[in-house]
Subunit: 154 residues, 2 copies
């Protein structure tokens, strides 16, 4: 197990919910937390498969939802009808700018946004569960963007 501290969080969560503690769940957790940046459930499954893991697609999908529930990872959606996840472990909460030209996803912090969800939800008589703030943008100088050039090659 690579992520001892996270494993403890997952174990406690599974216990508290009376879910079973299985090796597959920790295997998925390790793979997910190892991942840099954002990833889809299927991506992770394929990767694990390539690394000779025997964990099934169904288990990967289900376990990722458990990891969201115990706050080890976050669920994101950048408007492509595709669920993405990213590790929360040792990371600050942040928002995203998605470049519509080169596909880059840039993370940024916005103290100004942080307290808004609570204020707004309260005024409408709701309590906040989570929020998403995404900016869709384009490179200011696309001709010099190496990510865009790379993308064009494909």
């Amino acid at each position: 197990m690579k992520h001892q501290q996270a494993a403890e969080i997952l174990r406690d969560y599974l216990k508290s919910e009376q879910n079973r503690i299985t090796p597959e769940r920790f295997e998925v957790m390790d793979a997910a937390l190892d991942h840099e940046g954002h990833f889809g459930a299927d991506d992770l499954f394929i990767e694990m498969k390539n690394q000779k893991s025997r964990v099934s697609r169904a288990t990967v999908y289900k376990t990722l939802e458990l990891l969201v529930q115990c706050d080890l990872i976050s669920k994101r959606n950048f408007g492509e009808n595709l669920t993405r996840y990213e590790s929360n472990f040792r990371k600050q909460t942040h928002d995203h700018l998605i470049c519509m030209d080169c596909g880059r996803i840039v993370e940024f912090m916005t103290p100004k946004v942080k307290k808004l969800p609570d204020e707004i939800a309260a005024s409408l008589d709701f309590k906040v569960e989570s929020y998403s703030f995404n900016i869709f943008a384009r490179c200011k100088n696309i001709k010099e963007c190496r990510y865009y050039k790379e993308k064009q090659k494909q």
Copy 2:
């Protein structure tokens, strides 16, 4: 044609892009702008079909993208891996609070958010195309929420 003013916008856009002006496109436009609230492409197709329209599914999907491009409708995604649209016509820009209990989507205005995307994008050397700010929340008093009760019946 129900929406003369919108039709003009669409016609101008199609001309400027050298796209053809077809009756199907105006039929989809009328149906989309008639729609209250948020709708999926397939919903719209089914509805039109029920009203004896002969426009095909493919055309509905493609035309909705054109309507987004000429800013008559907006594209939304509330994290369900399903694209939703809503009319922009005679409406102010707004953001959304999605209730995870009752499924309601509440619209709100946030002057405080409006200028943030520009500031942030500029500082990262991008130019804003659009942004989304969604709050996922729960009813403060779910037991008295009639939308939740209704949902439970299903």
